[in-house]
Protein backbone atom coordinates (compact mmCIF):
# COMPACT_ATOMS: atom_id res chain seq x y z
CA UNK A 1 0.00 0.00 0.00
CA UNK A 2 2.77 2.39 0.96
CA UNK A 3 4.57 1.55 -2.18
CA UNK A 4 1.43 2.18 -4.21
CA UNK A 5 0.94 5.58 -2.53
CA UNK A 6 4.44 6.55 -3.44
CA UNK A 7 4.01 5.52 -7.00
CA UNK A 8 0.85 7.60 -7.17
CA UNK A 9 2.72 10.65 -5.95
CA UNK A 10 5.55 10.31 -8.39
CA UNK A 11 3.33 9.88 -11.39
CA UNK A 12 0.56 12.20 -10.27
CA UNK A 13 1.30 14.84 -12.80
CA UNK A 14 1.61 12.53 -15.75
CA UNK A 15 -1.41 10.30 -15.38
CA UNK A 16 -5.06 10.98 -14.86
CA UNK A 17 -7.24 9.59 -12.11
CA UNK A 18 -8.99 7.52 -14.73
CA UNK A 19 -5.79 5.72 -15.68
CA UNK A 20 -4.96 5.20 -12.01
CA UNK A 21 -8.25 3.53 -11.28
CA UNK A 22 -7.65 1.20 -14.13
CA UNK A 23 -4.25 0.29 -12.71
CA UNK A 24 -5.44 -2.68 -10.73
CA UNK A 25 -7.34 -4.18 -13.63
CA UNK A 26 -6.31 -7.59 -14.82
CA UNK A 27 -6.51 -8.93 -18.33
CA UNK A 28 -8.72 -11.89 -18.89
CA UNK A 29 -9.26 -13.79 -22.09
CA UNK A 30 -12.96 -14.30 -22.43
CA UNK A 31 -15.35 -15.57 -25.02
CA UNK A 32 -17.62 -12.77 -26.07
CA UNK A 33 -21.32 -12.55 -26.81
CA UNK A 34 -21.41 -12.59 -30.55
CA UNK A 35 -22.51 -14.77 -33.38
CA UNK A 36 -18.85 -15.29 -34.05
CA UNK A 37 -18.01 -16.16 -30.43
CA UNK A 38 -16.67 -19.50 -31.43
CA UNK A 39 -14.12 -17.86 -33.69
CA UNK A 40 -13.32 -14.79 -31.58
CA UNK A 41 -11.66 -14.45 -28.21
CA UNK A 42 -10.74 -11.07 -26.90
CA UNK A 43 -8.74 -9.72 -23.98
CA UNK A 44 -11.00 -7.89 -21.53
CA UNK A 45 -9.83 -5.93 -18.51
CA UNK A 46 -11.62 -7.17 -15.40
CA UNK A 47 -11.34 -6.79 -11.63
CA UNK A 48 -11.72 -9.69 -9.20
CA UNK A 49 -14.70 -8.02 -7.46
CA UNK A 50 -16.19 -4.88 -9.04
CA UNK A 51 -17.96 -4.04 -5.76
CA UNK A 52 -14.60 -3.51 -4.07
CA UNK A 53 -13.11 -0.99 -6.45
CA UNK A 54 -14.56 2.15 -8.01
CA UNK A 55 -14.73 2.08 -11.77
CA UNK A 56 -13.65 4.67 -14.30
CA UNK A 57 -15.24 8.12 -14.09
CA UNK A 58 -17.76 9.54 -16.53
CA UNK A 59 -16.33 9.97 -20.00
CA UNK A 60 -16.89 12.09 -23.07
CA UNK A 61 -18.00 9.27 -25.31
CA UNK A 62 -19.65 6.05 -24.20
CA UNK A 63 -18.45 2.64 -25.24
CA UNK A 64 -20.03 -0.74 -25.77
CA UNK A 65 -19.30 -3.36 -23.09
CA UNK A 66 -16.13 -5.19 -24.06
CA UNK A 67 -18.09 -8.42 -23.58
CA UNK A 68 -20.40 -7.43 -26.44
CA UNK A 69 -18.84 -7.29 -29.87
CA UNK A 70 -21.52 -7.14 -32.54
CA UNK A 71 -19.67 -6.38 -35.75
CA UNK A 72 -20.50 -5.71 -39.35
CA UNK A 73 -19.30 -8.21 -41.91
CA UNK A 74 -17.57 -6.38 -44.73
CA UNK A 75 -16.94 -7.47 -48.30
CA UNK A 76 -15.39 -5.43 -51.13
CA UNK A 77 -18.62 -3.59 -51.79
CA UNK A 78 -20.80 -3.82 -48.69
CA UNK A 79 -20.85 -4.36 -44.95
CA UNK A 80 -23.67 -6.33 -43.34
CA UNK A 81 -25.55 -5.64 -40.09
CA UNK A 82 -25.31 -8.30 -37.32
CA UNK A 83 -29.10 -8.61 -37.00
CA UNK A 84 -28.77 -11.82 -34.96
CA UNK A 85 -26.97 -9.86 -32.21
CA UNK A 86 -29.59 -7.11 -31.89
CA UNK A 87 -32.55 -7.09 -29.49
CA UNK A 88 -35.00 -4.75 -31.14
CA UNK A 89 -35.66 -2.82 -34.31
CA UNK A 90 -33.23 0.12 -34.13
CA UNK A 91 -29.83 -0.67 -35.57
CA UNK A 92 -27.05 1.11 -33.67
CA UNK A 93 -25.65 3.67 -36.12
CA UNK A 94 -22.19 2.09 -36.21
CA UNK A 95 -23.79 -1.25 -37.13
CA UNK A 96 -26.01 0.07 -39.94
CA UNK A 97 -25.24 -1.82 -43.13
CA UNK A 98 -23.12 -0.11 -45.76
CA UNK A 99 -23.24 -0.28 -49.50
CA UNK A 100 -21.32 2.16 -51.62
CA UNK A 101 -19.99 2.23 -55.12
CA UNK A 102 -16.67 4.06 -54.79
CA UNK A 103 -15.99 4.26 -51.06
CA UNK A 104 -17.04 6.76 -48.40
CA UNK A 105 -16.31 10.37 -49.45
CA UNK A 106 -14.88 12.86 -46.94
CA UNK A 107 -17.19 15.88 -47.17
CA UNK A 108 -16.62 19.09 -45.20
CA UNK A 109 -20.05 20.15 -43.91
CA UNK A 110 -19.04 23.80 -44.31
CA UNK A 111 -18.36 23.27 -48.01
CA UNK A 112 -21.44 21.13 -48.60
CA UNK A 113 -24.14 22.37 -50.96
CA UNK A 114 -27.28 20.79 -52.36
CA UNK A 115 -28.22 22.08 -55.81
CA UNK A 116 -31.82 21.72 -57.01
CA UNK A 117 -32.57 22.74 -60.58
CA UNK A 118 -34.36 21.66 -63.77
CA UNK A 119 -38.10 22.18 -64.16
CA UNK A 120 -38.42 24.79 -61.41
CA UNK A 121 -39.18 28.51 -61.31
CA UNK A 122 -36.09 29.22 -59.29
CA UNK A 123 -33.05 26.88 -59.21
CA UNK A 124 -31.48 26.99 -55.78
CA UNK A 125 -28.58 25.80 -53.69
CA UNK A 126 -28.81 25.06 -50.01
CA UNK A 127 -26.00 24.83 -47.47
CA UNK A 128 -26.25 22.28 -44.66
CA UNK A 129 -27.08 25.20 -42.38
CA UNK A 130 -29.96 26.18 -44.71
CA UNK A 131 -31.33 22.61 -44.70
CA UNK A 132 -31.31 22.55 -40.91
CA UNK A 133 -33.26 25.83 -40.69
CA UNK A 134 -36.31 24.40 -42.49
CA UNK A 135 -39.12 22.76 -40.50
CA UNK A 136 -37.82 19.29 -39.67
CA UNK A 137 -39.33 15.85 -39.43
CA UNK A 138 -38.22 12.70 -37.62
CA UNK A 139 -39.28 9.23 -38.65
CA UNK A 140 -38.21 5.66 -38.11
CA UNK A 141 -37.89 3.40 -41.13
CA UNK A 142 -35.74 0.66 -42.54
CA UNK A 143 -33.41 0.86 -45.51
CA UNK A 144 -32.83 -2.40 -47.35
CA UNK A 145 -30.52 -3.10 -50.27
CA UNK A 146 -32.46 -4.51 -53.24
CA UNK A 147 -29.79 -7.23 -53.54
CA UNK A 148 -30.31 -8.42 -49.96
CA UNK A 149 -30.43 -12.17 -50.59
CA UNK A 150 -27.85 -14.91 -50.03
CA UNK A 151 -28.12 -18.66 -49.80
CA UNK A 152 -25.93 -21.72 -50.32
CA UNK A 153 -24.58 -23.05 -47.02
CA UNK A 154 -26.03 -24.40 -43.77
CA UNK A 155 -23.66 -22.40 -41.61
CA UNK A 156 -24.92 -18.98 -42.62
CA UNK A 157 -25.94 -16.33 -40.11
CA UNK A 158 -28.86 -13.93 -40.45
CA UNK A 159 -26.20 -11.34 -41.19
CA UNK A 160 -24.86 -13.35 -44.12
CA UNK A 161 -28.30 -14.19 -45.51
CA UNK A 162 -29.89 -10.73 -45.32
CA UNK A 163 -27.67 -8.36 -43.33
CA UNK A 164 -28.22 -5.59 -45.88
CA UNK A 165 -31.19 -4.15 -44.00
CA UNK A 166 -31.04 -1.79 -41.03
CA UNK A 167 -33.27 0.67 -39.27
CA UNK A 168 -32.68 4.12 -37.85
CA UNK A 169 -34.60 7.12 -36.64
CA UNK A 170 -33.89 9.73 -39.31
CA UNK A 171 -34.27 13.49 -39.01
CA UNK A 172 -34.25 16.00 -41.82
CA UNK A 173 -36.37 18.16 -44.06
CA UNK A 174 -39.18 16.87 -46.23
CA UNK A 175 -38.32 17.08 -49.91
CA UNK A 176 -41.77 18.59 -50.49
CA UNK A 177 -40.79 21.50 -48.22
CA UNK A 178 -37.80 22.25 -50.44
CA UNK A 179 -39.73 21.71 -53.67
CA UNK A 180 -42.38 24.16 -52.47
CA UNK A 181 -39.61 26.73 -52.02
CA UNK A 182 -38.41 26.31 -55.63
CA UNK A 183 -41.89 26.22 -57.17
CA UNK A 184 -41.70 23.02 -59.18
CA UNK A 185 -43.31 22.91 -62.64
CA UNK A 186 -46.52 20.84 -62.28
CA UNK A 187 -45.60 19.00 -65.51
CA UNK A 188 -42.51 17.46 -63.84
CA UNK A 189 -42.81 13.68 -63.40
CA UNK A 190 -39.33 12.53 -62.35
CA UNK A 191 -36.30 13.84 -60.53
CA UNK A 192 -32.70 12.77 -60.66
CA UNK A 193 -30.85 12.35 -57.36
CA UNK A 194 -27.05 12.53 -57.54
CA UNK A 195 -24.48 11.68 -54.89
CA UNK A 196 -21.24 13.51 -54.19
CA UNK A 197 -19.17 10.32 -53.96
CA UNK A 198 -16.50 9.20 -56.43
CA UNK A 199 -19.12 7.20 -58.37
CA UNK A 200 -21.33 10.33 -58.55
CA UNK A 201 -24.16 7.80 -58.20
CA UNK A 202 -27.49 8.73 -59.75
CA UNK A 203 -31.04 7.43 -59.65
CA UNK A 204 -34.27 8.63 -61.29
CA UNK A 205 -37.17 8.91 -58.86
CA UNK A 206 -40.86 9.47 -59.71
CA UNK A 207 -42.09 12.85 -58.45
CA UNK A 208 -44.97 11.33 -56.48
CA UNK A 209 -42.47 10.04 -53.93
CA UNK A 210 -41.23 13.59 -53.39
CA UNK A 211 -44.76 14.77 -52.58
CA UNK A 212 -45.47 11.66 -50.50
CA UNK A 213 -42.75 11.03 -47.89
CA UNK A 214 -39.25 11.66 -49.31
CA UNK A 215 -36.80 13.41 -46.99
CA UNK A 216 -33.33 14.87 -47.02
CA UNK A 217 -31.92 13.38 -43.82
CA UNK A 218 -29.02 14.97 -41.96
CA UNK A 219 -29.38 13.12 -38.66
CA UNK A 220 -29.57 9.48 -37.67
CA UNK A 221 -30.59 8.17 -34.25
CA UNK A 222 -30.38 11.65 -32.78
CA UNK A 223 -26.90 12.63 -33.97
CA UNK A 224 -25.40 13.79 -37.23
CA UNK A 225 -25.71 11.12 -39.90
CA UNK A 226 -22.69 8.77 -40.10
CA UNK A 227 -20.27 9.21 -43.03
CA UNK A 228 -21.02 5.64 -44.20
CA UNK A 229 -24.70 6.61 -44.29
CA UNK A 230 -24.30 9.76 -46.33
CA UNK A 231 -22.87 12.52 -44.13
CA UNK A 232 -23.71 15.35 -44.21
CA UNK A 233 -27.03 14.68 -46.00
CA UNK A 234 -28.73 11.88 -47.89
CA UNK A 235 -31.96 11.20 -49.67
CA UNK A 236 -34.36 9.05 -47.64
CA UNK A 237 -37.16 7.29 -49.49
CA UNK A 238 -38.98 5.23 -46.85
CA UNK A 239 -39.68 1.67 -47.99
CA UNK A 240 -37.83 2.02 -51.31
CA UNK A 241 -34.82 -0.01 -52.40
CA UNK A 242 -31.62 1.12 -50.70
CA UNK A 243 -29.88 2.27 -53.87
CA UNK A 244 -32.49 4.97 -54.49
CA UNK A 245 -31.77 6.51 -51.07
CA UNK A 246 -28.82 8.40 -52.60
CA UNK A 247 -26.15 9.19 -50.02
CA UNK A 248 -23.96 12.31 -49.92
CA UNK A 249 -26.68 13.98 -51.97
CA UNK A 250 -25.29 16.92 -53.92
CA UNK A 251 -27.77 17.58 -56.72
CA UNK A 252 -31.42 17.09 -57.67
CA UNK A 253 -32.61 17.78 -61.21
CA UNK A 254 -36.33 17.95 -61.85
CA UNK A 255 -37.40 16.51 -65.16
CA UNK A 256 -40.23 15.07 -67.26
CA UNK A 257 -38.57 11.69 -67.96
CA UNK A 258 -36.33 9.15 -66.25
CA UNK A 259 -32.61 9.18 -67.12
CA UNK A 260 -32.06 5.39 -67.33
CA UNK A 261 -28.83 5.61 -65.37
CA UNK A 262 -26.47 2.68 -65.02
CA UNK A 263 -27.90 1.89 -61.58
CA UNK A 264 -31.46 1.55 -62.88
CA UNK A 265 -30.65 -0.34 -66.09
CA UNK A 266 -27.61 -2.61 -65.88
CA UNK A 267 -27.94 -2.92 -62.07
CA UNK A 268 -31.00 -3.17 -59.79
CA UNK A 269 -33.05 -4.79 -62.57
CA UNK A 270 -33.86 -8.49 -62.77
CA UNK A 271 -35.20 -11.13 -65.11
CA UNK A 272 -38.89 -11.95 -64.86
CA UNK A 273 -39.71 -14.81 -67.24
CA UNK A 274 -38.42 -13.57 -70.64
CA UNK A 275 -38.33 -9.87 -69.67
CA UNK A 276 -36.16 -7.64 -67.49
CA UNK A 277 -38.05 -5.75 -64.81
CA UNK A 278 -36.89 -2.25 -63.91
CA UNK A 279 -37.96 0.50 -61.54
CA UNK A 280 -38.95 -1.87 -58.74
CA UNK A 281 -38.89 0.72 -56.01
CA UNK A 282 -40.80 -0.72 -53.06
CA UNK A 283 -39.21 -3.46 -51.00
CA UNK A 284 -41.56 -6.42 -50.69
CA UNK A 285 -42.71 -7.68 -47.30
CA UNK A 286 -40.18 -9.92 -45.62
CA UNK A 287 -39.41 -11.48 -42.25
CA UNK A 288 -36.75 -13.59 -40.59
CA UNK A 289 -36.31 -15.34 -37.28
CA UNK A 290 -33.19 -13.88 -35.66
CA UNK A 291 -33.43 -16.07 -32.53
CA UNK A 292 -32.80 -18.90 -32.61
CA UNK A 293 -30.61 -18.85 -35.70
CA UNK A 294 -27.16 -20.08 -36.67
CA UNK A 295 -24.75 -20.24 -34.80
CA UNK A 296 -26.88 -20.02 -31.66
CA UNK A 297 -27.77 -23.21 -29.74
CA UNK A 298 -31.02 -23.89 -27.94
CA UNK A 299 -32.05 -26.02 -24.99
CA UNK A 300 -35.13 -28.18 -24.58
CA UNK A 301 -38.08 -26.37 -22.98
CA UNK A 302 -39.56 -22.93 -23.53
CA UNK A 303 -37.98 -20.88 -26.28
CA UNK A 304 -39.08 -17.39 -27.27
CA UNK A 305 -38.72 -17.27 -31.02
CA UNK A 306 -37.89 -13.69 -32.06
CA UNK A 307 -37.38 -11.89 -35.29
CA UNK A 308 -37.89 -8.97 -37.63
CA UNK A 309 -40.60 -8.32 -40.19
CA UNK A 310 -41.08 -5.37 -42.54
CA UNK A 311 -42.74 -4.14 -45.70
CA UNK A 312 -41.84 -1.28 -48.02
CA UNK A 313 -45.52 -0.90 -48.87
CA UNK A 314 -46.80 0.00 -45.41
CA UNK A 315 -47.46 -1.62 -42.07
CA UNK A 316 -46.86 -5.18 -41.02
CA UNK A 317 -50.24 -6.50 -39.97
CA UNK A 318 -49.42 -10.11 -39.16
CA UNK A 319 -46.43 -12.38 -38.63
CA UNK A 320 -46.94 -16.12 -38.44
CA UNK A 321 -44.44 -18.63 -37.11
CA UNK A 322 -44.28 -22.31 -37.96
CA UNK A 323 -42.41 -24.74 -35.73
CA UNK A 324 -43.24 -27.83 -37.80
CA UNK A 325 -41.64 -27.04 -41.17
CA UNK A 326 -44.62 -25.09 -42.51
CA UNK A 327 -47.45 -27.51 -41.73
CA UNK A 328 -49.06 -25.23 -39.14
CA UNK A 329 -48.78 -21.48 -38.71
CA UNK A 330 -49.28 -19.58 -35.44
CA UNK A 331 -49.68 -15.85 -35.03
CA UNK A 332 -46.74 -14.11 -33.35
CA UNK A 333 -47.03 -11.09 -31.04
CA UNK A 334 -45.93 -7.82 -32.61
CA UNK A 335 -44.01 -5.25 -30.59
CA UNK A 336 -45.82 -1.94 -30.79
CA UNK A 337 -45.99 0.66 -31.99
CA UNK A 338 -46.04 -0.93 -35.45
CA UNK A 339 -44.77 1.77 -37.80
CA UNK A 340 -45.22 1.78 -41.53
CA UNK A 341 -42.23 0.91 -43.73
CA UNK A 342 -40.40 -0.09 -40.57
CA UNK A 343 -38.78 -3.15 -39.05
CA UNK A 344 -41.27 -4.67 -36.66
CA UNK A 345 -40.16 -7.00 -33.88
CA UNK A 346 -42.12 -10.21 -33.36
CA UNK A 347 -42.11 -12.88 -30.68
CA UNK A 348 -43.62 -16.34 -30.40
CA UNK A 349 -43.35 -18.65 -27.41
CA UNK A 350 -42.65 -22.27 -28.21
CA UNK A 351 -42.01 -25.38 -26.14
CA UNK A 352 -39.36 -27.49 -27.83
CA UNK A 353 -39.47 -31.19 -27.02
CA UNK A 354 -36.03 -31.94 -28.39
CA UNK A 355 -37.18 -33.41 -31.70
CA UNK A 356 -35.58 -32.28 -34.95
CA UNK A 357 -37.74 -29.70 -36.75
CA UNK A 358 -37.78 -26.59 -38.91
CA UNK A 359 -38.86 -23.13 -37.76
CA UNK A 360 -39.81 -20.28 -40.07
CA UNK A 361 -41.75 -17.03 -40.21
CA UNK A 362 -43.91 -15.26 -42.79
CA UNK A 363 -45.27 -11.73 -42.75
CA UNK A 364 -48.44 -10.21 -44.17
CA UNK A 365 -48.52 -6.47 -44.90
CA UNK A 366 -51.45 -4.08 -44.99
CA UNK A 367 -51.89 -4.49 -48.75
CA UNK A 368 -52.73 -8.15 -48.13
CA UNK A 369 -49.43 -9.46 -49.49
CA UNK A 370 -48.03 -12.50 -47.71
CA UNK A 371 -44.30 -13.27 -47.88
CA UNK A 372 -43.88 -16.03 -50.49
CA UNK A 373 -41.76 -19.16 -50.47
CA UNK A 374 -38.77 -19.38 -52.81
CA UNK A 375 -40.77 -21.81 -54.94
CA UNK A 376 -43.61 -19.30 -55.30
CA UNK A 377 -41.13 -16.63 -56.39
CA UNK A 378 -39.56 -18.95 -58.97
CA UNK A 379 -42.99 -19.98 -60.27
CA UNK A 380 -43.90 -16.30 -60.68
CA UNK A 381 -40.62 -15.01 -62.13
CA UNK A 382 -38.88 -17.96 -63.72
CA UNK A 383 -35.73 -19.92 -62.86
CA UNK A 384 -33.29 -17.20 -63.95
CA UNK A 385 -34.42 -15.13 -61.02
CA UNK A 386 -31.31 -13.12 -60.10
CA UNK A 387 -30.68 -11.70 -56.65
CA UNK A 388 -32.69 -8.47 -56.59
CA UNK A 389 -36.01 -8.10 -54.78
CA UNK A 390 -35.89 -11.60 -53.33
CA UNK A 391 -37.87 -11.99 -50.13
CA UNK A 392 -38.56 -15.71 -49.61
CA UNK A 393 -39.56 -17.36 -46.34
CA UNK A 394 -36.35 -18.44 -44.54
CA UNK A 395 -36.28 -21.69 -42.59
CA UNK A 396 -33.95 -22.77 -39.78
CA UNK A 397 -33.35 -26.44 -38.93
CA UNK A 398 -33.28 -27.18 -35.21
CA UNK A 399 -31.17 -30.30 -34.68
CA UNK A 400 -31.48 -32.78 -31.81
CA UNK A 401 -28.36 -31.40 -30.15
CA UNK A 402 -29.88 -27.90 -30.10
CA UNK A 403 -27.79 -26.53 -32.95
CA UNK A 404 -29.63 -24.31 -35.42
CA UNK A 405 -28.73 -24.42 -39.11
CA UNK A 406 -29.87 -22.40 -42.10
CA UNK A 407 -31.87 -24.37 -44.64
CA UNK A 408 -30.46 -23.31 -48.00
CA UNK A 409 -32.89 -23.81 -50.86
CA UNK A 410 -31.88 -24.38 -54.46
CA UNK A 411 -33.04 -22.06 -57.19
Amino acid sequence: MEQRDRSIKTTEKKISRRTLLGGALATAILPVTSAFAKYVQIGVLTVPDPTKQPGPLPGKVGTRSPFEVPVKKPSDISSRSPLQDLYSTITPSDLHFERHHAGVPAIDPNQYELLIHGMVDRPMKFSLHDLKRFPSVTRTCFIECAGNFRTGKEDMTVQEILGLTSQSEWTGVMLSTLFRELRVDPKATWFLAEGGDAAVLTRSIPMHKAWDDAMIAYAQNGEAIRPEQGYPARLLLPGWEGNTNVKWLRRIEISDAPYFTREETSKYTYPVKDKIRMFSFEMDARSIITYPSFPQKVERGWIEIRGLAWSGRGKVIKVEVSTDAGKNWNEARLQGPVLEKAHTYFRYLWQWNGAETEIMSRVTDETGYTQPTLKQLIDARGKDIGGYHMNPVTAWRVKRDGSVLFKPEKH
Binding site: H101, A102, L115, I116, H117, R122, P123, M124, K125, F126, S127, D130, R133, F134, P135, E181, L192, E194, A198, A199, V200, L201, T202, R250, R251, E253, S255, A257, Y259, F260, T261, R262, T265, S266, T269, V272, D274, K275, I276, R277, M278, F279, S280, F281, E282, R313, G314, D365, T367, G368, Y369, T370, P372, Q376, L377, D379, A380, R381
Partner: protein, 194 residues
Protein backbone atom coordinates in the same frame (compact mmCIF):
# COMPACT_ATOMS: atom_id res chain seq x y z
CA UNK B 1 -78.47 9.49 1.98
CA UNK B 2 -77.72 13.12 1.25
CA UNK B 3 -74.06 12.30 0.77
CA UNK B 4 -74.94 9.64 -1.76
CA UNK B 5 -77.14 12.08 -3.64
CA UNK B 6 -74.36 14.68 -3.73
CA UNK B 7 -72.02 12.17 -5.12
CA UNK B 8 -74.50 11.24 -7.78
CA UNK B 9 -74.99 14.87 -8.63
CA UNK B 10 -71.25 15.44 -9.04
CA UNK B 11 -71.06 12.29 -11.16
CA UNK B 12 -73.80 13.59 -13.36
CA UNK B 13 -72.03 16.93 -13.63
CA UNK B 14 -68.76 15.28 -14.70
CA UNK B 15 -70.57 13.00 -17.09
CA UNK B 16 -72.41 15.95 -18.60
CA UNK B 17 -69.18 17.90 -18.98
CA UNK B 18 -67.51 14.97 -20.75
CA UNK B 19 -70.40 14.79 -23.20
CA UNK B 20 -70.30 18.54 -23.83
CA UNK B 21 -66.51 18.50 -24.36
CA UNK B 22 -66.89 15.47 -26.63
CA UNK B 23 -69.53 17.17 -28.77
CA UNK B 24 -67.47 20.37 -28.98
CA UNK B 25 -64.38 18.41 -30.13
CA UNK B 26 -66.54 16.48 -32.59
CA UNK B 27 -68.06 19.62 -34.09
CA UNK B 28 -64.88 21.71 -34.01
CA UNK B 29 -63.34 22.28 -37.44
CA UNK B 30 -60.48 19.84 -38.15
CA UNK B 31 -57.10 21.05 -36.96
CA UNK B 32 -54.72 21.78 -39.80
CA UNK B 33 -51.69 19.50 -39.57
CA UNK B 34 -49.37 22.14 -41.01
CA UNK B 35 -48.97 25.53 -39.41
CA UNK B 36 -49.48 28.64 -41.46
CA UNK B 37 -46.23 28.49 -43.34
CA UNK B 38 -44.87 31.57 -45.05
CA UNK B 39 -45.03 31.65 -48.82
CA UNK B 40 -41.29 31.19 -48.79
CA UNK B 41 -38.81 30.64 -45.96
CA UNK B 42 -36.13 32.53 -47.84
CA UNK B 43 -33.34 30.11 -46.97
CA UNK B 44 -30.76 29.17 -49.60
CA UNK B 45 -29.52 31.05 -52.62
CA UNK B 46 -30.51 31.23 -56.24
CA UNK B 47 -28.17 29.03 -58.29
CA UNK B 48 -26.52 30.69 -61.29
CA UNK B 49 -26.37 29.04 -64.72
CA UNK B 50 -22.59 28.65 -64.34
CA UNK B 51 -22.99 26.89 -61.00
CA UNK B 52 -25.57 24.53 -62.52
CA UNK B 53 -23.46 23.85 -65.63
CA UNK B 54 -20.50 22.82 -63.46
CA UNK B 55 -22.47 19.95 -61.87
CA UNK B 56 -25.07 19.13 -64.51
CA UNK B 57 -23.39 16.12 -66.15
CA UNK B 58 -26.31 13.76 -66.65
CA UNK B 59 -27.32 12.39 -70.04
CA UNK B 60 -30.76 11.14 -71.04
CA UNK B 61 -31.60 8.48 -73.67
CA UNK B 62 -32.93 11.21 -75.98
CA UNK B 63 -29.42 12.71 -75.97
CA UNK B 64 -30.29 15.64 -73.69
CA UNK B 65 -27.13 16.48 -71.79
CA UNK B 66 -24.59 15.06 -74.26
CA UNK B 67 -21.68 17.46 -74.70
CA UNK B 68 -19.86 18.55 -77.87
CA UNK B 69 -16.97 16.39 -79.08
CA UNK B 70 -16.61 13.04 -80.80
CA UNK B 71 -14.70 9.78 -80.74
CA UNK B 72 -13.94 6.76 -82.90
CA UNK B 73 -13.16 3.05 -82.54
CA UNK B 74 -9.35 3.13 -83.08
CA UNK B 75 -8.87 5.83 -80.44
CA UNK B 76 -11.23 3.96 -78.13
CA UNK B 77 -9.10 0.81 -78.45
CA UNK B 78 -5.99 2.70 -77.30
CA UNK B 79 -7.76 4.41 -74.38
CA UNK B 80 -9.36 1.12 -73.33
CA UNK B 81 -6.01 -0.69 -73.33
CA UNK B 82 -4.40 2.06 -71.25
CA UNK B 83 -7.14 2.89 -68.79
CA UNK B 84 -9.70 0.08 -68.61
CA UNK B 85 -8.10 -3.28 -69.47
CA UNK B 86 -6.45 -3.70 -66.06
CA UNK B 87 -9.87 -4.22 -64.48
CA UNK B 88 -12.06 -5.36 -67.40
CA UNK B 89 -9.61 -7.73 -69.21
CA UNK B 90 -7.77 -7.03 -72.49
CA UNK B 91 -10.75 -7.77 -74.74
CA UNK B 92 -13.46 -6.82 -72.25
CA UNK B 93 -14.64 -10.42 -72.00
CA UNK B 94 -15.10 -12.61 -68.96
CA UNK B 95 -12.05 -14.70 -68.12
CA UNK B 96 -13.35 -18.09 -66.93
CA UNK B 97 -12.47 -18.74 -63.31
CA UNK B 98 -11.00 -15.28 -62.77
CA UNK B 99 -12.91 -12.75 -60.72
CA UNK B 100 -12.22 -9.43 -62.37
CA UNK B 101 -12.13 -6.26 -60.29
CA UNK B 102 -14.65 -4.86 -62.79
CA UNK B 103 -17.32 -6.83 -64.66
CA UNK B 104 -16.82 -7.93 -68.29
CA UNK B 105 -18.12 -5.41 -70.83
CA UNK B 106 -18.26 -7.48 -73.99
CA UNK B 107 -20.38 -10.56 -74.71
CA UNK B 108 -18.41 -13.76 -74.15
CA UNK B 109 -19.51 -17.39 -74.02
CA UNK B 110 -21.37 -17.31 -70.73
CA UNK B 111 -24.55 -15.65 -69.56
CA UNK B 112 -22.77 -12.62 -68.13
CA UNK B 113 -24.70 -9.38 -68.30
CA UNK B 114 -22.79 -7.06 -70.61
CA UNK B 115 -23.33 -3.84 -72.53
CA UNK B 116 -24.24 -5.89 -75.59
CA UNK B 117 -26.86 -8.12 -74.03
CA UNK B 118 -28.17 -6.15 -71.07
CA UNK B 119 -27.83 -2.34 -71.38
CA UNK B 120 -31.01 -0.76 -72.86
CA UNK B 121 -29.56 2.65 -73.83
CA UNK B 122 -26.21 3.65 -75.35
CA UNK B 123 -26.39 7.09 -73.71
CA UNK B 124 -26.07 5.43 -70.30
CA UNK B 125 -22.59 4.29 -71.33
CA UNK B 126 -21.43 7.85 -71.87
CA UNK B 127 -23.07 9.07 -68.66
CA UNK B 128 -21.63 6.32 -66.48
CA UNK B 129 -18.12 6.19 -67.94
CA UNK B 130 -17.73 9.96 -67.71
CA UNK B 131 -18.94 10.19 -64.10
CA UNK B 132 -17.41 7.09 -62.52
CA UNK B 133 -14.58 5.66 -64.64
CA UNK B 134 -11.74 4.77 -64.50
CA UNK B 135 -12.32 3.57 -60.94
CA UNK B 136 -8.99 4.91 -59.67
CA UNK B 137 -9.38 8.30 -61.39
CA UNK B 138 -13.10 9.02 -61.79
CA UNK B 139 -14.05 12.04 -63.84
CA UNK B 140 -10.60 12.28 -65.45
CA UNK B 141 -11.59 11.40 -69.03
CA UNK B 142 -12.21 14.11 -71.64
CA UNK B 143 -15.50 14.12 -73.53
CA UNK B 144 -13.68 12.96 -76.68
CA UNK B 145 -12.13 10.06 -74.76
CA UNK B 146 -15.54 9.01 -73.44
CA UNK B 147 -17.05 9.17 -76.95
CA UNK B 148 -14.15 7.03 -78.22
CA UNK B 149 -14.66 4.45 -75.46
CA UNK B 150 -18.38 4.30 -76.30
CA UNK B 151 -17.48 3.76 -79.97
CA UNK B 152 -15.04 0.94 -79.14
CA UNK B 153 -17.33 -0.78 -76.62
CA UNK B 154 -20.37 -0.66 -78.92
CA UNK B 155 -18.28 -2.00 -81.79
CA UNK B 156 -16.77 -4.79 -79.68
CA UNK B 157 -20.30 -5.78 -78.71
CA UNK B 158 -21.16 -5.97 -82.45
CA UNK B 159 -23.79 -3.24 -82.17
CA UNK B 160 -22.04 -0.67 -84.40
CA UNK B 161 -19.49 -0.80 -87.22
CA UNK B 162 -15.75 -0.12 -86.87
CA UNK B 163 -16.10 3.14 -88.78
CA UNK B 164 -18.97 4.51 -86.70
CA UNK B 165 -18.08 7.86 -85.11
CA UNK B 166 -19.78 8.69 -81.82
CA UNK B 167 -21.01 12.16 -80.92
CA UNK B 168 -24.05 13.90 -79.43
CA UNK B 169 -26.02 13.18 -82.61
CA UNK B 170 -25.05 9.52 -83.31
CA UNK B 171 -24.92 8.03 -79.80
CA UNK B 172 -28.64 8.42 -78.95
CA UNK B 173 -29.52 6.78 -82.28
CA UNK B 174 -27.78 3.52 -81.42
CA UNK B 175 -30.44 0.87 -80.92
CA UNK B 176 -29.39 -1.45 -78.10
CA UNK B 177 -30.38 -5.13 -78.49
CA UNK B 178 -31.66 -5.46 -74.90
CA UNK B 179 -33.94 -2.44 -75.02
CA UNK B 180 -36.97 -4.49 -76.07
CA UNK B 181 -36.60 -6.75 -73.01
CA UNK B 182 -37.10 -4.06 -70.39
CA UNK B 183 -40.47 -3.65 -68.70
CA UNK B 184 -41.46 -1.26 -65.92
CA UNK B 185 -42.54 -2.87 -62.66
CA UNK B 186 -46.34 -2.50 -62.55
CA UNK B 187 -46.97 -4.14 -59.19
CA UNK B 188 -49.12 -2.04 -56.90
CA UNK B 189 -49.19 -4.16 -53.75
CA UNK B 190 -51.92 -6.63 -52.90
CA UNK B 191 -51.80 -10.38 -52.38
CA UNK B 192 -50.43 -11.41 -55.78
CA UNK B 193 -46.86 -12.82 -55.94
CA UNK B 194 -45.47 -11.52 -59.19
Amino acid sequence: MLKKLKLRRSHALIFGLIIIIGVVIWLWPPVKTEPQWPKTFGYGKTATQQEIAKLDIDVRPDGKGLPAGSGNVPNGAIIYANKCAACHAADGKEIKGVKLPGPPLVIGDGKTKTIGNYWPYATTLFDYVRRAMPYNAPGSLTNDEVYSLCAWLLNQNKITTASQVMNAHTLPQVKMPAQKLFIVDNRKGGPEVK
